[in-house]
Symmetry: C2
Subunit: 443 residues, 2 copies
């Protein structure tokens, strides 16, 4: 039986596996976590709207009715393109899996543009751990502000800086502003949460650049209405415990802030480099694999790279590119096995982009049409509801979400101090593979 | 204005604060976390039924309509009974709060009976971090079992040991068995989750001893029906990475198991010792404050100790004792302020005990009546539903819970590797107060 190995259960890998559900193949789907992460809603976990379970269904549950797939936990660390096998690390063991066709869809990592030390003070927005850490820091900041006696300290604790004005950054900034203005007022004796400053910083000169000028302008207006301060053409040159240093058009400035978050850049994961070395494939500046028009790695028609880790015609790193890429690769495999002509080059169909800015306000771009405000928000809601319902089939999760999102409350405000500082402890503690009684590794 | 300081927002502290809502007092409620923890459902977080947010509403939200209370984050580290003030540590700062009346309700800690090294391998069941760590270990065990090639290793990963056959241990064991038999079958290629062994161990000779012989016997039968192996008169003498050593009536035995959990003992928190030293109050063997019949500390009628950290007439460490104690203390304060006669000694009204063993099966003891099986379960459900609805006022949470609990799925299966090993890393990393850029401390 033809063996298909899929690396990564993000949008690309998962949709490839599903598209092969009736194919006469043996699929091994290898992922570093047991769940698929619905990344576009990660910011809602960080801001207390959703629980982590609601955006991260177990892969085994999604694919439980698909008999031709074997889900395996592990991190693919290497590819042997000659022997057609991948090597995998899992907690406490290593294994290899042979393939006839390989689909690599390992996503992207956060990039700090060479300033990895920023990560200690400005967590990224890529994983559940990131979101829970940010949740702990955001809600913790209001608690700690309330305890300060020095007015400057209060101000630092009530200043939130979001770096990166793409969809994730815009959505985070909007939700923190809503939290400060809508959820928390009246709950503190000494501070007024409405005095919190939310500052959205980006080096370029617009928010949501991928949405086009018209929506960018509307998004900017909606952010201003929410009270978000947007600092464009502003480059972050330093991040430390108590603030952030920026180069603005006005010159160098220092923003005092205890709570910073990073939604600014992505880089190819380590596996992209390993794959490039194994196959001689070229990579772009971000380290992504430059694939052929049919998404295969040059010289290796049996290896597809899809989603955020591949580079082709400047396609954006969005869920739809990964989903369509995964399906395209699956289709090519089915055609090959059936002896049919291969499909033509991969064509990305832009189904539109949308970003929610606050309750009742979003921007959406669909084909030639642009929507913003309430209409944009309704569209955003419809698409996400449909997706969640269809994908997770959990009525209560959607209800929970609708109620939290429509109401003023945040039902998932809980976080622990451990979550707030585990990352730093774990990094310094060292590789738990080596040290822990029950070995586990942070993916 | 009369100043009441309440230490701890568990059942005792929270109900004391609410009972004082119409009193002419200024309340300061100090707690180490921003949330109240509904501890009786912690095992449902650990086994993927509920999210942590659903059992831990923010204290500020619960008390948002009560103007006479000031909620403050912090750990009370000392009491100055002469100057009538408490000293508090919070992340990055220390402060003091003066009181006219003090209610100390700081709960209990996990006790390993002098074997604290067991904690590394057998997490307790006291905090959200505990529950998330256990969730990561339990679900991770099935993932890792599926990857093992050595049959003995598979068996070790599929063996779960719960130490302590009180309500928490019984409920944990029951839920892991249900997980193995009801939720996970069919989701793995190489293992059969139904082959998982769940072993419940206790040094005494019955489960649920506080429920009386009749219910203990029924609970034992229900556990057997679920496939749980119950090992009584079995003392744990060692816990390490790959198993547990026990002294059984048959002699010394070794149980190979990668996943152990500890629900066996409680000890007074460090604050009990500080309070005893500050007031000269006697303590019992577990370190709990021996209070006078009116719940005050001997020689200090202005200091009440309620809930798990006080010792009186052998009252059990259950939520109802804390709730009634908190209300009693509040009532005494109101009487004193009104110049009324004090109430007589604190009388605990046993409203009954219940423990759920599996879906559709529980044991309940109410007054002279004993219920078990489906009737017991309906009672358990009704009480918890009423409590959750009344207390948290969140219809969706209850719906979510009902659907998860009635269905086969577990909607909160997500956990991260970081959660699985953060405790060990954090402990070795040292006090984050000293080291972290944004200081936080594990309570």
């Amino acid at each position: 039986m033809h063996r298909v190995v899929i690396v990564g259960a993000g949008f690309g890998g998962l949709f490839a596996a599903r598209a092969l559900r009736r194919a006469d193949v043996e699929i091994t789907l290898i992922n570093g976590t047991a769940y698929h992460l619905f990344q576009p809603l990660l910011y809602q976990v960080a801001t207390g709207i959703l629980s982590e379970g609601e955006i991260a269904p177990p892969i085994r549950e999604i694919l439980r009715k698909q008999d031709n797939v074997d889900v395996r936990l592990g991190w693919v660390t290497g590819v042997d393109a000659a022997a057609k096998k991948v090597s995998v690390e899992a907690p406490g063991l290593e294994y290899e899996v042979e393939y006839d066709t390989l689909i690599v869809a390992a996503g992207a990592s956060q990039s700090y543009f060479g300033n990895d030390q920023f990560a200690d003070h400005a967590p990224g927005m890529k994983s559940i751990d990131d979101a829970l850490e940010l949740r702990a820091r955001i809600f913790g900041a209001f608690e700690l502000a309330d305890l300060q006696t020095d007015p400057e300290a209060v101000e630092r604790w009530l200043t939130f800086v979001v770096v990166g004005a793409g969809p994730t950054g815009v959505e985070m900034a909007g939700q923190i502003a809503e939290l400060a203005h809508r959820t928390l007022p009246g709950q503190y004796k000494r501070i007024d949460p409405r005095k919190a400053r939310v500052i959205l910083v980006d080096a370029i000169d617009a928010v949501l650049t991928s949405f086009g000028d018209q929506l960018a302008t509307r998004a900017l207006r909606q952010l201003h209405l929410l009270g978000v301060e947007v600092e464009l053409k502003t480059k972050v040159v330093g991040v430390d415990a108590t603030g952030i240093d920026v180069e603005t058009p006005r010159g160098h400035e220092r923003i005092g802030s205890m709570t910073k978050m990073w939604a600014a850049g992505v880089a190819a994961p380590p596996l992209a480099k390993a794959l490039a070395e194994a196959t001689g494939a070229p990579t772009d500046r971000a380290g992504r694999i430059e694939v052929r028009p049919d998404l295969t790695v040059p010289g290796h028609p049996e290896i597809f790279a899809v989603g955020d880790m591949m580079s082709l015609d400047g396609l954006p790193g969005v869920a739809q590119v990964a989903i369509q890429g995964g399906r395209y690769a699956a289709d090519q495999i089915k055609r090959r096995l059936a002896g049919k002509e291969p499909r033509g080059p991969f064509k990305y169909l832009d189904k539109g982009s949308m970003a929610t800015i606050s309750r009742f306000s979003a921007v959406a771009s669909v084909g030639r049409f642009r929507f913003s405000g309430f209409i944009g928000w309704l569209m955003w809601l419809a698409v996400h509801l449909l997706y969640l319902v269809g994908f997770k089939n959990r009525v209560t999760a959607v209800l929970h979400w609708a109620v939290s999102f429509l109401g003023r409350g945040r039902s998932e405000r809980v976080s622990t101090f451990q979550q707030a500082f585990a990352r730093a402890a774990v990094r310094e503690y060292g590789d738990p593979f080596e040290r822990l009684p029950q070995p586990h590794r942070h993916p």
